[in-house]
Symmetry: C2
Subunit: 374 residues, 2 copies
């Protein structure tokens, strides 16, 4: 699955390639998020043109709507949403804990009510794997228990141990799976343990012993201070095998991604390019830009003078501001696309810098400029 | 401006070409509506790919937001919205009567409050022309007074006479205009007179004597029975010169457009492809289809099996229904695009049929099939 191409000389950053049944992608990479089977406001054709090589979707959301059966009948998620490149699906464990009603965590799975219609459901770790098998995901995430910050050590330990148990059950499930689509699907292990070093280490070691196709660091960016995240990432990555991809879940802003890359992370996902895009905040080489602000009323420059995306090549800040003021859909479409382009370009430049052992210089230069308007 | 190419043998339908400073378009044509400087949910690139050759925008809306000065500074509307093909702007007379607050019609213009912020404005017919000159519109519509249905003959006559007075003032204004953009802009006359034949005839004759670049039929589809509209169109068209384009404002559904074509109309506009698209109603060769309906939950056919648009080539009814159920923007984007494609294809096939003197057959065949699901 993962081929290590180059270890950067001065940091833990590394260049690699992940190969799946739906094609390969270079790492470090950013995965645009299409929770409900669509990257919000953007078409698959546009994602292709923007250079996205893998997207993320969410098993919990798709299980509830339109339902696994519908997607199975459609011939799998790739066909249903018209995206023929790799798809990673999150299990939706996080959504069950944050969105679902009256959830109850049992030793053998999770009981909850749908946040949409209140219907009761029970899902075991094996069920969650089977859903993703049925969806046809290239990368499957197991059910895990994610805790909030702050969290007592006792609670964090119980959740971590349950995550390990569920990881074991998920592995068994994927071995026994019936995949009508017939291609190889990968299963990642998720390192939990809140902000406790020993719990994180314990979890990472046990997962590595179980031998997953890749490892993700979960339960981060749940309210803890930023330096704690990178402390965790730093020593967790050291425990992971070199020949497997590493995925830092739900991270993040450009400065966070660069920090993760430096610590040796390969894969990132985050909703912010599209969420910020829908609210009219653009990521630019000089920092974030809030397009509704009055100074842009007669500013005929593009969002980012250095950017080559469709939005920047064709439209001015003044026009985009007009579109947001008049609540026209084209506005949020254009800024969402621009933001995805910005994140994908950031990763492309990051990979270039790693290849020539100049990641530290690249990061410094990027952040210096980026913080101008921060 | 207008070149007559072919009069259909069996009807008043005709084939023509309109040439403007921003290129030419074949008639009969349909103009997608971009009221606020964007065809809702659709990008200019997509409009181009869909084959749109002219779009419509609205002087009243753009005058209020972002304001004429902003668009002037941007280098005109074409540049501001990144659309280099022809633009026809409606004066917004209809919007002043339907949207604006506390409007007061004076002999020399209209006083009203903005429907957005309550600001008071006064616009004379010359002001309305100058706004459109500043926007850089290829086809300018003069300020007119549109009455509702039903309307007393006295009231209709007063409004019609004011429309004539204002048409005269508009002609004077465009002669004296200062167009910094330097290219030829056309001014149409608008035939009013409600449902009264003699008023319509009187209005049409006076406008023709004044010699406009084209003629539109306004004040239709304001609540009157459908047959009354085509009665008016029928005899008004007979009074218009053969060498000028004829535009039936705000019409309409496919069956209405075909009726207008048969009476000799050249240009149409309507918000329904995009408005219906945003609500999840698709126009198909077999009639309208409401995508939220339950039977489409596991229907993996395209919206229209005969359609070659991006939506129909890539997505199923089941996926579109899912997108609408989950309120995902991609859903309304795709159905809006499909609908515009449907209308533009209808016009292309209409022109083909006229060219070979088979319009009646084409119309009959289309309506037979279209009404299957009506």
């Amino acid at each position: 699955m993962y081929t290590l191409i180059h270890n950067e000389k001065n940091t833990k950053a590394r260049l690699g390639k992940v190969t799946t049944a739906h094609g390969e992608f270079d790492t470090p990479c950013f995965m645009p998020v299409g929770t409900q089977g669509t990257v919000k406001a953007v078409s698959p054709q546009e994602l292709n043109e923007l250079g996205a090589k893998i997207i993320l979707s969410n098993a919990y959301h798709l299980f509830l709507r339109p339902g696994t059966e519908t997607i199975k009948k459609a011939g799998g998620l790739h066909k249903f949403i018209s995206w023929d490149k790799p798809i990673l699906t999150d299990s939706g464990g996080y959504q069950i804990f944050s969105l679902a009603l009256l959830r109850k965590i049992h030793q053998n799975g999770v009981e909850f009510q749908s946040h949409i219609d209140g219907m009761k459901h029970f899902l075991s770790p094996a069920d969650v794997v089977q859903i993703q098998v049925d969806l046809g995901s290239d990368v499957i995430m197991p059910l895990d228990e994610c805790v909030h910050y702050p969290c007592t050590k006792d609670h964090a330990e119980i959740a971590m141990k349950k995550t390990i148990d569920w990881a074991i059950q998920s592995k068994q499930a994927i071995r026994q799976r019936v995949n009508p689509l017939g291609y190889k699907q990968f299963l990642f292990g998720i390192v939990q343990g809140a902000t406790y070093e020993d719990l994180r280490k314990d979890c990472a070691k046990q997962l590595v012993d179980l031998d997953f196709d890749g490892y993700s660091i979960g339960g981060v960016s749940v309210g803890e201070p930023r330096n704690l995240i990178y402390n965790i990432v730093d020593f967790v990555v050291d425990l992971l095998p070199e020949n497997k991809p590493r995925y830092l879940m739900g991270i993040g802003h450009p400065e966070d991604i660069l920090e993760g890359v430096q610590e040796g992370v390969d894969m990132f996902d985050c909703v912010i390019p599209t969420r910020y895009g829908r609210n009219g905040t653009a990521f630019t080489s000089e920092g974030k830009l809030t397009i509704r602000n009055a100074p842009y009323a007669q500013d005929f420059l593009p969002l980012d003078g250095e950017c080559s995306c469709y939005c920047c090549k064709n439209f001015s800040r003044a026009y985009l501001r007009h579109l947001f003021n008049t609540e026209e859909i084209l506005g949020l479409r254009l800024v969402s696309m621009h933001n995805i382009h910005f994140f994908l370009e950031l990763m492309r430049k990051t990979r270039e810098a790693i290849a020539v052992d100049k990641f530290v210089e690249f990061k410094k230069e990027f952040l210096n400029k980026y913080n101008l308007c921060a």
